[in-house]
């Protein structure tokens, strides 16, 4: 009774759980335009997941896997449906997850490799893959309730239906390491055997032991929804943030009736929800601060999409960040790898693979 009353009072006064707060971009996260102003990269339709194969970047775009051939990207493998996640092992194995056809293991030329993986096709909504070692694959299932294409619905309906699996490629054994995760969207096996997972809807990074038990919350209350992770040369990690949090979206997340009506009547690309790109159509929702004045959109205007990649040190303290702000092109950064002093980024919203000299 008291709790019900308290909840009602909080909603009435907008306090406690009903208060809408979004952490500011502050300190090392202070906005800049390094990402937006980086030199032109490779124009590729919806590039998604970067990985290092024998030290060279490969990435997915639609159902294709691409790598650099000279200084032009060229496809070296084509899958049956859109690739949703990609990982490479030191031994040159490529793990690929497709939207409709599950997980497959390829060799470095893109030919199917022989492993003990059984029923690879049953996995859906795979958001990230990582090799813990040459025989062990870590798999993030974003949501067991929704397909990956309905990720916005998964957020708006506030599902916590993500899973982390470990697949032994030698024996074919599958172990469910963690359950009920809030859309795990990035995974990395750390040196000590523990596993780092980014939980998008919880806007945090967590560390799990090799048995899957959560041992620490590494970063909490991020200003955006985290995606995939990569090692940085300075000893820390690169964390990509694929969309920003905004007070309006946080508010809508507290309004179930409106959310239901919106999802029922409005096309998904026009929802009040985070997006990989925005400003494409006048049917998209607009917020007050995004009203152009004298033909100019302010870079601090509220936006549904943003480009952000953050370098954190080994203690997960942010030390630098690269931004593409409101109105920019390089939005929806879904993965990053560092290779030879250069940072490679996929801007899924901006249809571009960007490289930045660090």
């Amino acid at each position: 009774m008291t709790i019900a009353m308290g909840g009602w009072l909080e909603r009435f006064l907008g306090r406690g759980t009903a208060s809408v707060t979004v952490p500011p971009l502050d300190g090392a996260l202070k906005p800049n335009s390094y990402l937006e102003e980086a030199p032109p990269g490779f124009t590729v339709a919806a590039p998604d997941n970067l990985a290092l194969l024998d030290g060279a970047p490969v990435w997915s775009s639609g159902a294709q896997l691409l790598k650099l051939n000279g200084d032009k990207p060229s496809p070296f493998a084509t899958l049956q449906s859109d690739v949703t996640a990609l990982a490479c092992s030191d031994a040159g194995l490529i793990a690929v997850a497709c939207e409709k056809h599950g997980i497959a293991i390829l060799d470095r030329d893109g030919k199917p490799a022989i492993t003990a993986l059984r029923d690879g096709g049953k996995y859906t909504c795979v958001t990230a893959l990582a090799f813990a070692n040459n025989d062990t694959l870590l798999v993030c299932i974003g949501s067991t309730d929704n397909p990956l294409s309905a990720w916005q619905r998964d957020l708006l309906e506030q599902h916590r239906a993500g899973q982390l699996l470990r697949i032994d490629l030698k024996s074919g054994e599958v172990k469910l390491l963690a359950n009920k995760l809030a859309f795990p969207n990035g995974v990395l096996a750390d040196k000590d055997g523990s596993i780092i997972v980014s939980e998008s809807w919880a806007t945090r990074l967590i560390r799990l032991g090799s048995d899957g038990r959560m041992s620490a919350q590494l970063i909490e209350d991020l200003p955006g929804y985290p995606a995939r992770l990569a090692r940085a040369a300075r000893g820390g990690y690169w964390l990509t943030v694929f969309a920003p949090r905004s007070p309006l979206i946080e508010f809508v997340l507290r309004e179930p009736k409106y959310r239901r009506a919106m999802m029922a009547e409005v096309a998904p690309e026009n929802w009040i929800a985070p997006a990989l790109r925005s400003g494409q159509s006048f049917h998209e929702p607009m917020q007050g601060g995004a009203l152009k004045q004298m033909g100019i959109l302010k870079p601090w205007a509220p936006t549904r999409s943003y480009g952000l990649v953050v370098e954190v040190n080994e203690n997960f303290v942010p030390i630098r960040s690269l931004h593409s702000r409101a109105g920019g092109r390089r939005h929806g950064i879904t993965s990053a790898v560092e290779s030879g002093g250069r940072l490679w980024l996929t801007s899924k919203g901006g249809d571009e693979v960007v490289t930045i000299n660090l």
Binding site: V20, P247, L248, Y258, A261, M262, A267, M286, K292, M294
Partner: protein
């Protein structure tokens, strides 16, 4: 599409949510807390004390209140100018003594004695006022000194004359009427209080001296800087305060007919308590007669009530003190949070169910299909004009537009590269029209309807209309005159987009989508302005139909265009002409082939359309998140449409890539060109029209014919 329940519709139709914000923005709402305390006190003691509401008790209380209320008003007056008067009690005692002395000992008649006493006490007040106002002594110390000295004088006089006074008795019917009688059961002292209060209220709130007193109390230095006579006003306030004390003393004398050393003892504390309880700010500048009287009633009911309940003598002041503490606490919190509360509750959305918009998809075709025709727009005055909401051309092809700096800028033909400030009005010039004489009429946001004659003189045409009967806020002033047109008989019809928002936050009105606007008519023959149509949803874009029989106007947030008949059989009625628009229509103007142009200033977004059906969602949004984050109509991109008298849309012109001239609030056809203005733009655009357009057609000739 899900439908909203009838109950919710009725609720939003009949419950006036917006009144809460309007009430909170009124000045007198400050009295709400003291008034609540008053109600509590009266009901508490009314229930505790038997016969509290009986006629005799009320009469006694009212008679005493007559005296005490006057003293409280005296205190309130000096507090309002930023001072304090501790000598009211002594002055009151002096008034009482002098009345008795003049009547009983000197044998003066009543009509002479009363003014004399008022003047004597006014003299004491004048001394205070002179010392504080002119010699700049501290109010607290000065009045403390007069408190002591006047009290001493009264005591000395009492010592000398009390014996003589106690044996004599003044007998007069007038005197008895004042002291014991009344009119129709209402005691005379109460009647006097009411009369004085009414005069005081009018003086303080409706007269120059009253406003000056308030200004001085609010900020002495600013008042001095703007040239008010601070010293004189302060002195006058103390003098009037003294006179009120004197009058109160007279009434006391008439009621009791005796003078003692304890007369008026502690009265200054009671009066000060009452003034503060009523909500008069000790800092000055905030106070009213009503506040003083509310405080007076509270204090009197409490002090008398505590005694009558039978509590011991110390408990009266104790209860008073605790109440004062509570009242001050609540008052401080109220003052601090009132504006916060107002800003949170002012936006009060209502339920709107917009019909499904007509399709705009490029693939599906149709009159509204997206195209790129505005990409070829020629740009005029890039970065030289800001906010050209409307553009207009005269017969000599000069191009005029308003800017957000309050200027009317004129570009010269044929290339429109050179420009000059044609006239400076101020405010935000919006819609424009030429009258028959060639004078330029301009709707100015924040100011009203203005005219620039051919000698470039700026003349105010009108800035107010008749006030609506049941409005909380004064809606007679024009806040956001938006667009106008001139009927053949010379009457000017113009729209006021909203009466609830100022120029700089007009898009917030879209969050409400209530009928906050109106169409107003100015008649140059009588010089009168009256409201023609009320409760319109952001009326905008007024245009006289080609036959001169009707005024077309857009209801922006309603996404529709209406026709208001001004002549013919349907005169005075409004009918729907175009609806289901995919965006928010703005200015409407005539086209050369007998159709009409309409600017669509922004596009509907489906997410906002859903929110429009859920007013409580929008209300919470307005409270919880910052205005910058509010869901807005998309005013970054729009288009131009052309429609005919039957309400059919003929064509549309878009800037699909939003690269050249996406934001449009107005357009004018002139000699084969279409000129475009946009309120958030830094440019004007023009585009050559197709062969259908009459290359000789101009707006002026369409209205007034070729100039003779």
């Amino acid at each position: 599409m899900a439908t909203t329940s009838t109950l919710a519709k009725l609720r939003y139709r009949f419950v006036p949510d917006h009144v809460i914000g309007e009430l909170l923005s009124k000045k007198w709402i400050d009295n709400a807390i003291p008034f609540l305390v008053l109600l509590c006190v009266v009901s508490l003691f009314g229930s505790l004390i038997p016969n509290f509401f009986s006629g005799s008790n009320l009469a006694i209380q009212a008679r005493e209140l007559g005296e005490f209320g006057l003293v409280c008003m005296a205190m309130m007056l000096v507090i309002v100018v930023g001072g304090l008067d501790l000598s009211v009690g002594s002055n009151f005692a002096l008034g009482n003594f002098m009345t008795l002395a003049l009547l009983n000992l000197a044998g003066w008649p009543v009509w002479l004695a009363i003014p004399a006493v008022v003047l004597i006490c006014g003299g004491v007040g004048f001394i205070n006022g002179f010392l504080i106002g002119y010699l700049r002594l501290r109010a607290f110390l000065t009045t403390l000194v007069t408190l002591i000295i006047v009290r001493a004088i009264v005591d000395m006089l009492l010592l000398k004359y009390s014996k003589a006074m106690s044996v004599s008795f003044y007998d007069s019917t007038v005197w008895d009427l004042i002291g014991l009688g009344g009119v129709g059961g209402v005691p005379s002292s109460f009647i006097i209080l009411v009369v004085v209060a009414l005069i005081g209220h009018i003086l303080l709130t409706r007269s120059r001296p009253g406003w000056r007193a308030m200004a001085i109390g609010g900020s002495r230095r600013s008042a001095h800087n703007i040239g008010l006579s601070v010293r004189g006003t302060v002195c006058a306030a103390y003098t009037i305060s003294g006179m009120l004390c004197g009058l109160s003393g007279v009434l006391y004398a008439a009621r009791l007919g005796g003078a003692g050393t304890d007369t008026g003892m502690g009265l200054e504390i009671a009066a000060l308590t009452a003034a503060v309880l009523g909500g008069n700010s000790l800092g000055g500048g905030r106070g009213s007669v009503v506040k003083a009287l509310i405080g007076a009633v509270i204090v009197q009911v409490m002090t008398n009530g505590v005694l009558r309940i039978g509590m011991n003598s110390g408990s009266g002041p104790m209860v008073l003190g605790l109440t004062l503490l509570l009242a001050v606490f609540i008052d401080v919190r109220w003052l601090k949070n009132r504006d916060k509360l107002l800003s949170k509750v002012y936006v009060s959305p209502t339920l709107v169910e917009l019909p499904t918009p007509r399709p705009t998809d490029a693939e599906k075709g149709g009159a509204l299909a997206l195209n790129d025709r505005l990409r070829e727009v020629e740009i005029i005055g890039l970065d030289e004009v800001e906010s050209p909401e409307d553009v207009i051309l005269d017969e000599n092809d000069y191009l005029y537009c308003g800017t957000r700096h309050g200027d009317i800028v004129r570009f010269s033909p044929p290339h429109y590269k050179e420009w000059e400030v044609y006239a400076h009005i101020g405010g935000s010039p919006l819609g424009m029209a030429f009258d028959k004489a060639g004078d330029l009429l301009v709707c100015v946001g924040g100011m009203g309807l203005y005219k620039i004659d051919r000698d470039r003189n700026v003349i105010k045409v009108t800035d107010e209309t008749n006030r609506s009967a049941f409005s909380v806020v004064d809606d007679s002033r024009l806040r956001l005159a938006d667009d106008l047109d001139i009927a053949p008989d010379g009457k000017v019809y113009f729209s006021e987009a909203t009466i609830r928002y100022e120029m700089h936050d007009w898009p917030v009105d879209a969050l409400e989508s209530r009928g906050n606007g109106r169409i107003i008519c100015y008649d140059p023959n009588t010089g009168k302005t009256h409201t023609a149509v009320r409760k319109l949803v952001f009326p905008n874009g007024v245009c006289l139909s080609h036959d001169g029989q009707a005024i077309l106007f857009a209801e922006s947030w309603g996404c529709r265009i209406n026709r208001y008949w001004i002549a013919g059989p349907k005169a005075g009625t409004v009918e729907r002409m175009v609806d289901q628009l995919p965006g928010y229509p703005d200015n409407i103007n005539r086209a050369s082939d007998g159709t009409y142009w309409c600017a669509i200033m922004g596009m509907r977004s489906p997410a906002l359309d859903v929110a429009l059906r859920m007013p409580s969602f929008r209300r919470r949004m307005a409270r919880r998140i910052a205005p910058d984050q509010w869901l807005y109509p998309n005013l970054n991109i729009g288009c131009v449409i052309r429609f005919n008298d039957k309400g059919e849309i003929v064509e549309s012109m878009w800037d699909k890539g939003a690269s050249n001239h996406p934001m449009i609030t107005s357009m004018r056809e002139h000699k084969g060109w279409l000129y475009l203005g946009g309120i958030t733009n830094n440019r004007i655009g023009r585009i050559r029209l197709g062969d259908w357009a009459d290359k000789t057609w101009s707006g002026y000739r369409s209205y007034w014919g070729a100039r003779s």
